[in-house]
Symmetry: C2
Subunit: 398 residues, 2 copies
């Protein structure tokens, strides 16, 4: 945290010069100019293979369509005396989207962050992403930005990018909300600037918890656990099952799919450190244990997933039945893949359109409403010793 | 922040013993037992004068009624292949309500925090409030807790109370969300535990900005500015007006109402340090200046407040027309009085029912949906180098 605070202070004091120097130090590239020319985004899209273009278009369309249903409605309530009480939603003016580099540089991250911001109606989307070894971000990340309508992309990452979005520099505008996952430096920087800007959440390593009964196929469960473990050596993959046969079959099923796995080392490390198979005496017990963990992703590979889902209190997203591997939600089902980790599903949900909006209360009393309620306001104000609060009502009733 | 971190560490390590010792040190009282007997809450309500009871009941009823309109609806969307995509809202299980002591110990704070939590459906409300000099919290605060249905009240405040709610002790349960205003220690403690629990916001000193034209009465404007200034020496009270006559009349109007004012010293300090009167050449210009400030409370004392409200981008709450002094919103209009301060209306809104809820995404694909989208998922997974993500789909389609 001390190192993050120092980086943030430097960005606040020195602006672009600090971004240049810190990026050179941490990423080995001097990102001058910071901004990726907009034409580069269009070129990256043009250069994308047709099958990947189609897949990205389908994902974009489905994510867009689901998020449009989240747009919150304004409230306008008329009180008993004809007074107006309301709540008005508006988009924030500027959103900052953080897209990680390295192993976790994913075009799907771009879509899952940019689409809700655009559906909210945010005027200005500012994307930051660290330059790779060649000085440029990941090509498909740029293509996805183009598809999602993001025009402003800067090649800077880490805590310094979060500082730029929170404080603003000569080149990068200060934003109102910062979303997107990152490494520990990014997460600590987001926590540090929280309050000065809104942030989506503090993301930890990804997790899946699978509840499976006798109806689940061992090779499918194994693929789902491995799909989590392959993300990150710290990813957690947990199976709770009522089937002794399934539990017994898992080690061999996992081992078979780890052969020739392109990320075998990461995956094996995650399974060793954060993998777990638990045999439960009932699905109800499995649901209780799952709630203790409050998983980011919960798969219900059971005969009647709807009934079990009703019993679950805490989960970021629930994937129901045999045809819903988590991967469909990661890419294109529609709901957001940015989900609460590390037990925070107790109080948080997926990134959503509302993340990029805020509301304003509206109150318009008329004379009748003030006459009907004014003496209560005066009584309450005087009980709290707030003389002028009472006076502000009296001077309207006299 | 270092002192806050130390207090939080002690509470995490030593639990109730730390609460006893820290409360004795900071509040001069050893709060043993910590919990206020539930009967004390009912007794406090019984002992409340009838007129204050009626005023509290009216406020409670109106706040309840407005917040019930905020309950979010679940989403259940059927995709093109019959797949289910949904979002399910649930209350958090436990909420912690912080009610300050001393000068800012208000029964209205109790109602404004407890009512949205109860409307959300939170099972367990845990209120903390520091003991006064006699060892007991403010009597009307206890009465308001009884009215709002809060049964669990602990006499502990400051950063140590936030620590208790975030970590849990033998006596005080760990909660999922902490809401409520407090002094700088409380605010820094909320920031420190943010991420481990949800928090409502980081509250700063209160502010009002009044936009007034020739139709506004100087004595009413003065009362409204003083009603903000009397809260706190750091409170800001700002007038933007297009009327030279009104601007010229303000000093005398303020001085007249400061005579014999019970909080004259606080109020005068706030006006001197944070008061401002600005003469604007148009209401449009006033709206622009107001947006630069993004006020917590915005009063529109102008002939056509609806038109002006449309031009405003950033405000926590807008009070429209001559019969809507901010005080009605502070106590009983209906919308919440916990509002974004210090420019955070750019990205935040009032405390609301959703503060005490979270949502879970629901996805249920069928075979047809997976067949229609599976190849796109595989393409995207392979483009990101996530082998088992692709495998998890292939093993369901074969």
């Amino acid at each position: 945290m001390a190192r993050v605070e120092e980086i943030l202070s430097r960005v606040q004091a020195e602006g672009d010069a600090a971004l240049m120097e810190l990026t050179e130090r941490f990423d080995g590239v001097r990102p001058d100019p910071l901004r990726i020319p907009p034409q580069r985004l269009a070129d990256a899209w043009q250069a994308t293979p047709a099958s990947l273009k189609d897949a990205l278009r389908l994902a974009h369309q489905r994510i867009l369509s689901f998020h449009q249903h989240q747009l919150p409605a304004d409230l306008a309530v008329t009180g008993p005396h004809g007074e107006l009480l309301g709540r008005r939603w508006r988009p924030v003016q500027r959103a900052g989207l953080y897209v990680p580099g390295g192993r976790a540089s994913y075009p799907s991250t771009v879509l899952m962050n940019a689409v809700p911001a655009r559906v909210a109606g945010v005027q200005r989307l500012v994307m930051v992403t660290p330059p790779g070894p060649g000085g440029e971000p990941h090509e498909t990340v740029l293509a996805a930005a183009h598809l999602a309508g993001v025009e402003e992309v800067y090649r800077v990452g880490g805590a310094q990018a979060i500082g730029a979005l929170a404080f603003g520099t000569a080149t990068i505008p200060r934003v109102d909300v910062i979303s997107g996952p990152g490494n520990l430096y990014v997460t600590l920087a987001k926590k540090a600037v929280y309050g000065r800007v809104a942030i989506d959440s503090l993301a930890g390593p990804s997790e899946v918890l699978v509840i499976a009964d006798h109806s689940a196929r061992a090779d499918q469960v194994a693929a789902d656990l491995l799909a989590q473990a392959e993300h990150d050596p710290l990813a957690a993959a947990i199976l709770l099952t009522t089937s002794p046969e399934l539990a017994a079959a898992m080690p061999a099923a996992l081992a078979a799919q780890l052969e020739n796995h392109p990320r075998a080392e990461i995956t094996r490390t995650a399974l060793n450190d954060w993998g777990l198979i638990v045999l439960c005496d009932s699905l109800g017990r499995a649901a209780q244990l799952s709630d203790c963990f409050a998983p980011e992703h919960l798969e219900l590979l059971v005969e009647d997933p709807e009934i079990l889902a009703e019993q679950i209190q805490h989960a970021g997203a629930i994937f129901m039945g045999p045809y819903t591997p988590e991967a469909v939600g990661d890419y294109l089902a529609g709901p957001n893949h940015t989900l609460p980790t590390a037990g925070t599903a107790r109080f948080a949900g997926a990134l959503s359109v509302e993340t990029f909006m805020r509301h304003t209360s509206l109150i318009r009393f008329n004379r009748e409403a003030l006459e009907a309620t004014g003496s209560a306001v005066i009584t309450l104000a005087e009980s709290e010793g707030l003389h002028s609060h009472a006076e502000s009502v009296k001077r309207r009733l006299n």
